[in-house]
Amino acid sequence: MIQRAIALATLLAAMPLALPGQSIRNLTQGSTVRKLWKPIVADANRSVVEVCVNERAMILGTVVGEDLVLTKLSEITPRDDEGDDEPALSIDQGERSWPCVQISADRTTDLALLRVTGASLTPARWKKGSALKPGSFLASVDGSDSPFGLGILAATTYVHTVPRAFLGIRFANPNGGEALIDDAVEHGAAKAAGIRGGDVIVQFDEQKIEDTEQLRTAIRACKPGDKVSVTFIRDDETITVELNLGTNSSPMRSDQESVWGELSDVRSGFQRVLQHDTVLKPEDCGGPIVDLSGEVVGVNVARAGRIETLALPSEDVQALVARMLKEEKEAGGER
């Protein structure tokens, strides 16, 4: 695999012409266009940092106060399999680095507020006034000279709702009684895990299931993509399978999930969002986006689909930070 990667790199270097996708890329990637953006993004570049967990750069962060940085919560939170040790958080800007601590977290927007020790950072210059029009040109910055991602505002600001998690089953007793499966729907999570009609689900993760309603409630508490274990009885045999919950979308959609590539782990449950067409990697989230005025119009919060890059609008970011600081104060947090 590594050999192949090297071979390919050599190959590309040797190629006289760029690849089709690169020779003409959308507005996002042209080098001429990037150059034009340089002076526009200069200010915002001073308000972006890299957030490191145990000295490893994980995600971008936006400076929201002299010693305050907002970043993507799920990207700095250790996963279950990474042990219980409290991770050491720090931020990098250019050659400099400062330690920091997490002082607040908001699960709905998946944002965390960090307080930086000993730094005097340049807070983002927020866009004020009228709402952005769809078609507005936007740049995502990461502290380097020119923007790393360009795109347009795709739609008006809207409320991003949470997609529900689905197991992909039809109950034989929809109105109550044991969780007997009538049918596992085509392309559903249950079917993929081998669950079929006639099976009786008796346990969902830690919870014993005695009634269809209990199972419904348990599924509702999950998010699409959550990994759960399901125990069912088939012909007196008890079988436990592990599966990832799906959504209620069409087979075409789930088929596409696989081609979307890397998406942010937590990408739903946001409130008001700006949707833009910039192609970002999950680790490129957390940083500011600016329009042609050079002012920050929002903070990238997730890559929600093949094309759905979502940002929290600047006024909502400011309101959130104010709320987080107020809560911290009320809780008597002294850092």
């Binding site: 190959l11 996708g21 003409i24 034009l36 979308s249 596409q256 067409d277 093949r306």
Partner: protein, 335 residues
Amino acid sequence: MSRFATAALAALIAAPAAQGQTEPAQTKVSNERLAEIFAGDEPTSIPEIKAMQAHVQSLIQRVLPATVSLPGASGVLVKRDGKPFLLCAAHVTLAADKEIKIRMTSGRDILGTSLGANHRSDVSLVRVDEEGDLPYAEIGKSSDLTRGQWVLMLGHPSGRKKGRTAPARLGRVLRVPESGYLVTDCTMQGGDSGGPLFDMQGRVVGINSRISGNLAMNMHAPVDALMDEWQELLDGKVTESRRRRGRSRIDFGVPLTYGDGCPVFEEVPEGSAAADAGLRSGDRLFEIDGDEISSRRDVMRALRNFKSGDKVEVVIERDGKGLELEVELVEEGDQ
């Protein structure tokens, strides 16, 4: 393929560009220059980017009302012989004489009846059963498109969402085939199917059809395929896609040998279509339309959305050098 008449384009663009913005920065850019950029050039100054932005913003407002959503898909309203129609994709409407529920951007619901569909070109026509004035888009000519030209795509990725207008995506034409699909880097996603691709004058030039794993591979049916068959579609003719014989598949018409790393075209006979496309015996296949290839499954995955007659761009290695070729696909057994 006729090349763009820049002067004519300039005249057409003039109106929306002028009415959209009044800031002095925009007035410095002539409409002729703006037309030149949209015909495939890159902007070279900030006033030019601003002029582009102003045009894109006003264009989105102009084409949004005619862009509609269907359950899980999209479409565009047009007018012909004084009657309203919906242009859509064959894989959305599927068959004739079906009731089609259409939701307009205004939120108003109207009904239509599906007419013909061509599953080979993936275009279909829907009669709109509604009296009174409806918004509509002008129809353009896809044969007038040139590589590098800027285009605007609208649709409802992941289906319609409350409070969200159809997200717009700006991109450029990557490939204009003589037949088959139009490729742009306007990133699409499930739900965009059937939605319109506009030229920068707001004329429909394509219908959203399919995607591949590569973000830059977004395929649209050229609108000419629909217009050329207008009468047949109006009469309700449904053309099936080429039937697949047994397990026959789409490939290059010459054998590929799989081993470690990239597959090899062991034998490319002289006079074969593959040889005409530039393939030679011993060429190693690195990429298909931007997807890296190292196994039989990779090839199958990269080609699964194509039909016989479609062209793909491949990157091959020959004598240590990379080459980019365009190869026509055939159904296995056709040769």
